[in-house]
Symmetry: C2
Subunit: 472 residues, 2 copies
């Protein structure tokens, strides 16, 4: 009997791979080692759990351990893989103090990423949190609950009941700090404001959501201020100060008293497991893979937030840790390991985020600088256009940035922001970009028009029209 | 001095062409002859005017005669072109009983289409209407107003005040019939129900909105019934009976008493003007044109609802009279006539429609029959998928039909229906289809994911995944 397909990490990439493998190859064995108790949870949903729009933490689970067993997956939770020997083709696993070696036929490293807090002293205080993982989400929600009120259901076996109780017993905060103005920062600002808290967002650079480009950033900043958020831009946080918990955010020009701090300044790939192996990392520090998710070592794959992927525009290897990428790559690798070669697919850097009532999207190379760095001669325009026919109620001004290469006319990237069906429109650009369309081809697309949904010229077409004028 | 660019018809295609020409060639002359009083109005908005969501008829105007003059367009309303002599290169124009010949350098025929009522006797009665044109919209809205209440503003010079007064003075209907279950029929059913009227929709075939495919049709039918609409499917109307106005819809199996009937059974291109010319029509009966909107006669162009266009999937000439097509073709022809050759662009048959709370979209070849007729070997699937992450509130089941060619795997068409951001998602398919993507390529697109807007696998990706399983 051959050795099993071993998967390290029981989240999106890992369980997608295991599920697909088990379905394609019902006679094969697949073992998933997950170091924690939670598996297959929707990380992107955690801000909405803290906000209160999602009632139970377990609502965020997409696959229960029982479901996994039904699919023929040997899922071992609280099993941490602590070593990989690519010569012997074994992994070393720790479980409840014991340690054993598990041989593998093929190996998928799907170890994910972790939240970075490094440059900020005090991030380990009580009432200082990151938002990476279900335990964090439970802790933050417990911290917001009035003392003694049980907002987090600790009956569920996955929940770290001790951590939850610790925060349930504390008085709730009145003033909170969000350190970092990326996705998590913007989503958590919305969550905190929904609880009526005085909310401060600190961002080192001049812009929130930097990958979305200036036009989106500016509308989001204005909107957050309208929603009562205090923005501290161009402000580097030097410390989370306090004695019993967090009491103030210290920055270059002063200090802001707060009772809770959420640090969302970035994530880094979990690759330590591979440090003593010949598996090569890419420039980003994530695992380098080919079009099929294969690493530099035969029989070893990597997928999800710990792995790189090829960028649809630049053709270069890049690190864009997002949910679809993880699911898709995992699924493809499961199929490949089962014997049917399947590419993991390129990434276009497509991302969307809700900022209170604003919908934001971005794809490809938005900034002219990024496009220049990739060897293009970029031209970029930003336009405003209605989301519906002007006479039809409920529309909103939609701001589109579109960037193209001057020589070839090829669409390189874009962004979009508005209140009315703005985010989902980025899919048009993602499709155009992955199809290597030129601006002229984009301008001539036969897109949807009906007064309740879109004006005759969709905002994306308006941007293409204006950009084409710049290119001619 | 050379002869002017003459445009026949002052709506979307005609005025887009004239505007673009005037901008590109400020020294050139452009004359637009429009037989009516209204110019450049949003036909697609008229149901929402009747419904009451759009307050003034003039809100539907996208370009006033004054705006046209400011753009350097010589716009002549109430000037009907009654003849074309392509040898002499002149058109014959009637205005207030006078008749004159106007020489042209280039000629654009943008005469639009008209509502068909032919097979239904009684369509000329009082309280029987079509919805083609602003005068019809004004009349229907006046007919709905309580006797003596002035819902339609007759101060505006464009309005046919006599017609409006005639219907304002009448008692309003309590029971209305919509004959025809296409776009107009579905939109007008919504408008009538908004006024609390007993509403009957008669459709000759088994399905509403036939071009959208069975899955959309079925959900729309269920939804209309939920909204209190009486559907009469497979029911051919033989007459609108009555003495003073409409009193009943007569069909094969009986009669339904109503006080008003709206006939929306189709439109036909206005091409009579060309009947004595060598300008060739296509199989559809609309004017045949090439990739630049040129007809079979030098210097004569056609665009908008009277002209054909090339289909992006079949490559064949087809007649899809919709708003964007008209605007885009007009604009391209304006540029071409100004000396800068510009293609009018293919049509993908993209269409979206709102049916009460449902959003519907379609593109390309949805029906397997249509795909077979075009020489493909079609495979089609229909799936249901969430519009948002399952745990995030406000989502709706989204139904996607996707059709592809078995041999090549090429995406041929699709449809979509749901309450939450469904319609605009058709643009992803339109872009994919115009880029000749295969189902495998579609499945690997990096589309947007964030819990409030889309699940990890967008419904379009789910459909691609399932269809690919059928193709393998």
């Amino acid at each position: 009997m051959s050795d099993p397909f071993v998967v390290v990490g029981g989240d999106a990439a890992g369980l997608s791979a295991a599920s697909k493998f088990a379905r394609e190859n019902p006679d094969g064995d697949v073992v998933v080692f997950e170091k924690g108790r939670w598996v297959s949870y929707a990380y992107c949903g955690t801000p909405y759990y803290v906000k209160g729009e999602v009632e139970h933490l377990t609502d965020l689970l997409s696959l229960s351990p029982e479901d996994a067993a039904d699919r023929g997956i040997d899922l071992r939770r609280e099993h941490e893989v602590v070593g990989v020997d690519t010569d012997a083709e074994t992994v070393t696993v720790e479980h409840e103090g014991d340690r054993f070696d598990q041989p593998y036929g093929d190996l998928l490293v799907a170890t994910g990423a972790h939240a970075v807090t490094d440059p900020i002293p005090g991030s380990d205080r009580e009432m200082a949190f990151t938002m990476h993982g279900m335990d964090s989400a439970a802790a933050v929600r417990a911290a917001l609950s009035p003392a003694g009120e049980q907002w987090v259901d600790t009956d569920v076996e996955y929940v770290d009941a001790e951590l939850v109780q610790q925060y349930t017993d504390r008085d709730p905060p009145e003033r909170v700090a969000v350190v970092g103005g990326g996705y998590v920062g913007v989503e958590m600002a919305e969550a905190f404001r929904a609880h009526g808290l005085e909310t401060h967002v600190f961002q080192r650079s001049a812009h929130l959501l930097p990958p979305f480009g200036d036009a989106v950033c500016e509308r989001v900043a204005d909107h957050l201020r309208e929603q009562g958020v205090s923005l501290h831009l161009n402000t580097a946080v030097s410390e989370l100060a306090g004695s019993d918990g967090v009491e103030a955010v210290v920055h270059d020009d002063g200090r802001v008293p707060v009772d809770l701090a959420l640090v969302g300044i970035g994530i880094a790939p979990n690759t330590r497991l591979l440090s003593d192996t010949p598996v090569e990392l890419g420039e980003s520090g994530a695992v380098a893979v080919d079009d099929y998710g294969r690493t530099s070592v035969d029989g070893v794959y990597a997928a999800g937030d710990c792995a790189e992927a090829r960028h649809a525009v630049t053709g270069e290897s890049t690190w864009v840790p997002l949910g679809l990428t993880a699911n898709r790559a995992g699924r493809a690798i499961g199929q490949t390991v089962a014997g049917d070669l399947e590419p993991v697919g390129d990434v276009a850097g497509t991302a969307v985020v809700k900022a209170f009532e604003l919908e934001c999207g971005r794809v490809g190379l938005v900034h002219e600088d990024a496009a220049s760095d990739a060897g293009f001669d970029p031209v970029s325009v930003t336009i405003d256009a209605g989301s519906r026919s002007g006479y039809y109620p409920g529309g909103d001004e939609t701001t589109v940035t579109l960037t193209a290469d001057r020589d070839s006319g090829r669409v390189l990237g874009g962004s979009i922001v508005g209140r009315d069906r703005a985010a989902i429109r980025i899919d048009t650009l993602a499709t155009a970009l992955e199809s290597d369309l030129t601006v002229a081809e984009l301008e001539r697309l036969d897109l949807a028009y009906a007064p309740p949904f879109s004006p005759v010229w969709d905002p994306v077409l308006v941007a293409a029209k204006v950009l084409r004028g710049e290119l001619d």
